[in-house]
């Protein structure tokens, strides 16, 4: 089957600093890929490139076989127009570490905004869709609450519903539990687990090693802007080939 996501030789630099040094990654439909690695290894930057929140200098990202963000004209690589970039972004959903819900809207309106203004659904259709997804994340009865009236875990679940209501081909999760109090982590992880089990293709950046181990079909270990090692969780967590991965796992609380 063709890949949902294909990354070919991706390079990204911030000024002098090269943070991604040639990333190649394929994600098949229904796959759940967790990216692990120490901070500064480029995990989050990679995710942000896939969502076109960062520009990149070299390489290609394809969603469903279609290059996003850039195209070739007369042999030169040019950034797509803003409206096209926006369309490309809508193909992937993203949940952020800091939730980023719109504080001036209720949970329901947060989820409805994209379907109404990007997918051009009617208010009624968008409301039905939003209620369906709020129900899926277990927050239907909180639909009229504003973000300030929700706990961190609830906010993050609304944010996930907001992304998924756009029916993305791929979901990206960027350290979605890092800003949460420990007792709120489980509800968010359960939500993600449910989505994974329903067949959603996703790429996660996470520090929750146990969760990554349990939910992922593949683990990608990044180190200094490169993919150092990847494979099924059983292989990567228990028989890591690279010395750096062993050291990294040793530093985390992961119990073998």
């Amino acid at each position: 089957m063709s890949s949902v996501l294909q990354i070919k030789n991706l390079h990204k630099r911030f000024g002098q600093l090269e943070v991604l040094k040639g990333i190649d990654l394929d994600v098949a439909p229904g796959e759940v890929v967790s990216i692990i690695g120490s901070s500064g290894s480029g995990k989050t930057t990679l995710l942000r490139c896939i969502n076109l929140l960062e520009e990149f200098e070299q390489g290609e990202i394809l969603i469903d076989g279609k290059a996003i963000g850039y195209r070739m004209r007369d042999g030169r690589r040019i950034r797509e127009r803003e409206a096209v970039v926006a369309k490309h972004r809508a193909m992937t959903g993203m949940a952020f570490q800091s939730f980023n819900l719109f504080p001036h809207m209720t949970a329901l309106r947060n989820v409805m905004l994209g379907p109404m203004k990007v997918l051009n659904l009617s208010r009624e259709e968008a409301e039905v869709l939003a209620e369906k997804w709020l129900d899926r994340v277990g927050l239907l009865e909180r639909k009229h609450h504003h973000p300030s009236q929700l706990s961190g875990g609830q906010q993050q679940r609304v944010a996930i519903a907001r992304a998924i209501a756009m029916n993305p081909k791929l979901m990206l999760f960027d350290e979605v539990t890092s800003a949460l109090d420990p007792e709120l982590v489980a509800e968010v992880l359960n939500t993600i687990r449910n989505l994974a089990e329903s067949g959603m293709t996703m790429v996660l950046v996470t520090h929750e090693m146990r969760f990554a181990h349990d939910v992922s079909s593949r683990i990608v270990f990044m180190n200094q802007g490169q993919i150092e090692e990847q494979g099924p969780p059983s292989e990567l967590f228990y028989n890591s080939r690279s010395q750096r991965l062993s050291e990294f796992l040793g530093r985390t609380a992961f119990k073998r």
Partner: protein, 224 residues
Amino acid sequence: MNLAHVLLEIWLARFDILFGLGLTILVSFTAIVAGTILGISVGVALTYGAWPVRFIARVYVDILRGTPVLVLILASFYIPSVAHINLNALEAGIIALTLFCGSHVGEVIRGALQSIPKGQMEAAKSIGLTFRKTFVYVLMPQAIRQAIPTWTNAAVEIAKATTLLSIIGVPELILTTQQIIGRTFLSLPFYLMIAILYFLIDFAIERAGRYIDMRVSAAQGTVP
């Protein structure tokens, strides 16, 4: 000076005073509305404009804010006539106050837009909103909520600054009153009366600002 005499003179001057009051309110209202529209554009240019746009907006704001209102009023009354553009005193006055209001509101809006966390823009982008839609549905509603209290102050300043138009001969409340005093020599009662009228105008703007703030806050689910 007996009370009956004062009341009689006030009664005789009632139409003049109402006319002056009406003109003061008209000028204030026009300058605040036009200045706010101008200011929003300037604030957007300052925050999101390409550098030439930002540069022009910055020069405009800095010059206007750094100049006394009286100087602006005199400038807009005398300078256009050099270029053979004939503005009457009222037009010149409204233009000066609008430009002044626009520069202040521009800064207010810029501050409010810049205080919105970067994540808001990113979240909007990630669901596929274009910049224009992000601005309309995500950024501006939050900026307005943030800007209302400072905007109210700017509006009150404009209403007070209309008094300066008396210098170029706009028959607003101050000039009208001075003319009445020249005729009746009753300076204290008439000045006292317009002091109360100005207070009421400013108080009304203040209340209007609070009311809008309350309504917006309620709609956005935030506590004012």
